[in-house]
Symmetry: C2
Subunit: 449 residues, 2 copies
């Protein structure tokens, strides 16, 4: 192990760089496979840029597509896509955890301690066990999801197609990928309680992150969970409930979305529409027909995203939580940021601020450039960019009409959103070698706000 | 003095509350005067809500208007407006500084020390001197501005009108109010180097804040300035230059804005368009004809705003600077946020984060509600809300057509933007009495981003 570690250090392969490059490599391999004529139903190659876009979208579990997945791709193409999704989703989760455990990045001395604490894994055999656990858990959950979905998809599409649809959408939902081969996402099943709830729970579980399930399965009682798990669960719940109520109130009288449905279906659709923007990318109502207000709320939810170490994108629930808690702390006139009787250290607060500001910067600059290169409204371009950044995959119809330049820009946004903007910065920035210098500058003050 | 202080404490009038209530009172008085029939040219009252809107816009030096200031208001009305602007602009600056000096708020123990240090004023006689200095400086600068403007306005409008226009617009510019009685802001003078530069420098000087000029006039050399002044000057310069270059590049081929102008006038218009969004609210090109990209850039500049303790609104240059510096610190892997060899303390960073997040929250929620109540595009509503929050006053034409509900909402946004969202929160939140408790919670960790 220490040999591998030394080798990596020699190659200047710090773990964030390994992660960033691993993703890049997987995307390239996927693009080459999807560029093959056999990948399309018509037997004609889609062209490299579109193949690259699709592969990036799959590996980054984004779900933005330039062609309709169900109509364009052959079974071979669809299998390539779902494998890329599974590797992108699962691979990232285990890689992120394992790489952090094995090598330890400078920034995450504390994170490593948390992970160790949460998983209670100190030895290599423990790591192997962890990997097995993660893989087993993933396949079990996806299996259960597929079985539940098949009770509806087999009657609807026949046996062979129904089984394939069940497997595809269960993986796609758990990995928060948002790819669908139905053709219009979950719109045909808007009122189907089995399909909607199964997909929703796959999405939610996939978006919590493994450290949270391990914590739950170990500690059972809520009060005994770690601060991280408590925050993740609390913020996830708040976001889902708030989003659901807002969607219901805003859309109930919109004839293109909720109005034609009965009350049960409206509640179900509002719930689904609140769950999916935070990274999943499915939809059961037509996104392009939503009120501007709902679109704006979805943009915010997409930007926040899911929880760290999961299949989710965005700035993450805990980052959002840390920012809100800091704001409340300042308003109350306190000095320490406290949650559940634990003090959140300054480094974490600074880091949250950095993640949010890099995120805002990225989404802003990309949207700005797109307003110059593309022919679409500002709101739609902001929507599509945030969807790419949050690896959500919801679309207002802009993606298939993007210029080549716009496609490249969205590919890069999906990639940065998945790897994490801060990880990208860590991966390629020259960082201070010696951090523990004893010299500290004297304090200087500024007036703010 | 200590008697006044005691009285105030008894009334639970903490300084932020004094500030907030003082503004509220001034707005009400203004509304009553502007509601008089004599205030309008036609001799008919404008109605209380519109009078309140205009008064709030003047006191908060915002400049959003429901009627054309030059066409609708009588000379009496215009005089009331310019006095409200002067009191709102100057009053806030001195009040903010003085109240902080006299009473000292808990949050600003450090700020108080900076102000003391910068002004080197420890005694009451010093405070009186300071007030005199601020008032004298204001009138001198406005006087010089009016004389410069009169060299163009008298030839253009005749003597009496020219003098009145010069005084009105000099005060309006220095106070960053953005009110104009020309009818189309500075559009007729787009290429007039005297008018554009005079207005621009009045705006820039007004937006720096008094502590910065006092610092400059005392220390002369840049290197000897305080950290606060250095940051204010650096960020102001960066924002103006960046904005100017972007506007030129985006708008030079827009036939409705820069394209008909020669190169000198294009540069002048770009410079002006970069200076004004950070709180001034004048325009020399038609804002409603700008490209979406420019509109988006203006929204960002409006949100950032000017510098603290000035006539400017927004989250402030130093807040923005603190956030950027923290982000760079985290990316470089450092622990302390350092600027010009001084460490910015944790409280200031937390406070900056809080200000930005309250600002984002406010602008978001108000825009969101307006998408429901008003009939305008999302971009225009976001523009108008940010303009109100940043007390900028630029408009895409939404304000005159607002519903009554929308007007009330924009009045409240202007008010919160001027008083400062955090000050509002301080003013009305129950704050911890005892902050120095020796008990500190143990550290808990979370994974972010
Ligand atoms: K997705
Ligand atoms: K203004």
């Amino acid at each position: 192990m220490s040999f591998l570690k030394r080798r990596l250090v020699e190659l200047e392969l710090n773990p964030p760089r390994v992660l960033a490059m691993g993703f890049g490599g997987l995307i390239l391999i996927g693009a080459i496979l999807l560029n093959l004529p056999v990948a399309s139903k018509t037997g004609e190659s889609i062209g490299f840029l579109n193949a690259l876009f699709t592969s990036a979208s799959a590996v980054c579990v984004t779900g933005l597509v330039v062609v309709n997945t169900g109509e364009f791709w052959s079974l071979f193409g669809q299998i390539v896509i779902i494998i890329l999704i599974q590797m992108g989703g699962l691979g990232f989760m285990t890689m992120a955890t394992l790489v952090a455990l094995i090598l330890g990045k400078k920034i995450t001395l504390k994170e490593r301690l948390i992970i160790k604490e949460q998983l209670n894994q100190e030895t290599m055999s423990g790591l192997v066990k962890l990997t097995k656990y993660v893989i087993l858990a993933t396949f079990s959950i996806e299996g259960i999801g597929a079985i539940l979905l098949s009770t509806r998809f087999i009657p609807a599409y026949g046996f062979a197609k129904g089984v394939w649809f069940s497997i595809f959408h269960s993986i796609s939902a758990f990995c928060n990928a948002g790819f669908d081969i139905i053709g219009s996402s979950m719109v045909p099943f808007v009122g189907d309680i089995v399909v909607i709830l199964t997909i929703s729970f796959l999405i939610i579980i996939g978006g919590l992150g493994f450290s949270v399930y391990i914590d739950i399965s170990k500690n059972k009682k809520l009060v005994r969970l770690s601060l991280h798990s408590k925050l993740v669960l609390a913020i996830t719940l708040i976001l889902i409930v708030t989003g659901m109520i807002l969607f219901y109130l805003i859309e109930w009288d919109n004839p293109a979305t909720l109005y034609p449905l009965n009350v049960k279906d409206r509640i179900l659709a509002s719930f689904f529409q609140s769950v999916v923007p935070r990274t999943a990318g499915f939809n059961s109502v037509d996104i392009s027909k939503l009120e501007d207000t709902s679109v704006f709320i979805i943009i915010i939810l997409m930007f926040i995203g899911g929880s760290p170490g999961s299949t989710a994108g965005g700035i993450k629930t805990t980052t959002f939580g840390a920012i809100i808690l800091t704001t409340l702390t300042v308003i109350k006139g306190n000095k320490d940021v406290v949650a559940y009787k634990k003090r959140i250290p300054q480094e974490i607060i600074y880091r949250s601020l950095a993640i949010a500001s890099v995120g805002v910067f990225l989404v802003t600059v990309v949207s700005l450039i797109l307003t110059l290169s593309e022919d679409a409204t500002f709101l739609d371009l902001l929507f599509e960019t945030t969807s790419a950044f949050g690896t959500v995959g919801l679309t207002r119809g802009v993606t298939p009409n993007l210029s080549n330049f716009g496609k490249v820009l969205i590919i890069l946004t999906m990639y940065s959103g998945r790897v994490g903007p801060l990880t990208m910065a860590f991966a390629f920035a020259k960082r201070q070698k010696n951090n523990s210098s004893s010299y500290r500058y004297s304090e200087g003050n500024i007036l703010v706000g």
